[in-house]
Symmetry: C2
Subunit: 155 residues, 2 copies
DNA sequence: CTCGATCCTAAGCGACCGCTTAGTTTTCCA
DNA sequence: TGGAAAACTAAGCGGTCGCTTAGGATCGAG
């Protein structure tokens, strides 16, 4: 699409970025929610989340880069809208880790920082992943799934 | 310093970025090497690396953002120069993890991907860390140190 | 087959960016 | 405290960017 045609659909470039970022955030959130919904056992939920969240950041690395690294280019109001979605995801993972810890299946000092670390691992994949590299998205996701479980002190 | 004064010292903006990025990369590499030099036991080396590498990315988060997120703005030759330093760091950590695995102290399927994950955790701190947040660089570094040890399956 | 939606190219406007030059002030140490 | 080093402001040049407008091609549903 030519640059001129873009402005038929979006009033400003910032609005285009916002809609793109919003749609991307909804995508990841859905990935996360569907992974969490596959079980009610924290261990299985975290396995699925770590795997799918990581795989998404590899497979959709261009969208992921917009989602994770372009927030500074949004207006303050739009940043706040999107920050809300991000908080929901953080809390979802934190609560799952906290539930696992309460059940004696996980062992963490600080569930919030553990949740941050698990998501962080997946996010950073979007920074270094290149198509056609030695590792496939699935290979990375499977390994990161195991690393994430160890992170939270799962036996 | 005013924009005009910059060009007394650097011929182009790209050259300025290169010198900045190079100096930043040498800083992190020194942080990593000094941490590794504090012991000859892989466990202690990895503890020190995870802690100091993470702390650096929090304390020097502005420099870290240049180092980690501005490489695309460098010329191809400069990218290659700096990529060399980055490979050295990756390999250093991978070799430490591999040594620990060989000694039966770590348990990893893929030492390369484990090394990547450990560094990834530290790097991503530069993305989300804000001064004056709830967590201090030292608090984050201490927790990430423990998370990194678990990552590599250290008992 | 036609009509309306949606794409395109081309041209242009004002603002900002990368960089330079010239002249002036500040700094700091021998 | 004098003088070189290094900072500053101000002005300007050419190029790109954000965005708009006008007019023409394309495409798909009815």
């Amino acid at each position: 699409m030519s640059a001129a045609s873009v402005y038929v659909h979006y009033p400003t470039k910032e609005e285009l970025l916002y809609q793109l970022s919003l749609s991307g955030h909804r995508d990841v959130q859905m990935v996360l929610e569907q992974a969490a919904a596959r079980s009610e056992v924290p261990e299985e939920q975290l396995r699925a989340i770590a795997h799918d969240y990581t795989a998404w950041h590899a497979r959709c690395h261009t969208m992921a880069q917009v989602v994770q690294y372009e927030m500074a280019a949004l207006s303050p109001q739009h940043v706040e809208q999107i920050a809300q979605i991000r908080r929901e995801m953080q809390h979802r993972v934190r609560d799952i880790i906290a539930a696992g810890a309460e059940a004696g299946r996980f062992h963490v000092e600080d569930a919030s920082i553990a949740a941050l670390a698990v998501l962080s691992l997946g996010i950073d994949v979007a920074r270094w992943y290149r198509e056609g590299g030695t590792w496939t998205p699935e290979y990375i996701a499977e390994h990161y799934r195991e690393l994430a479980l160890r992170l939270v002190g799962s036996a």
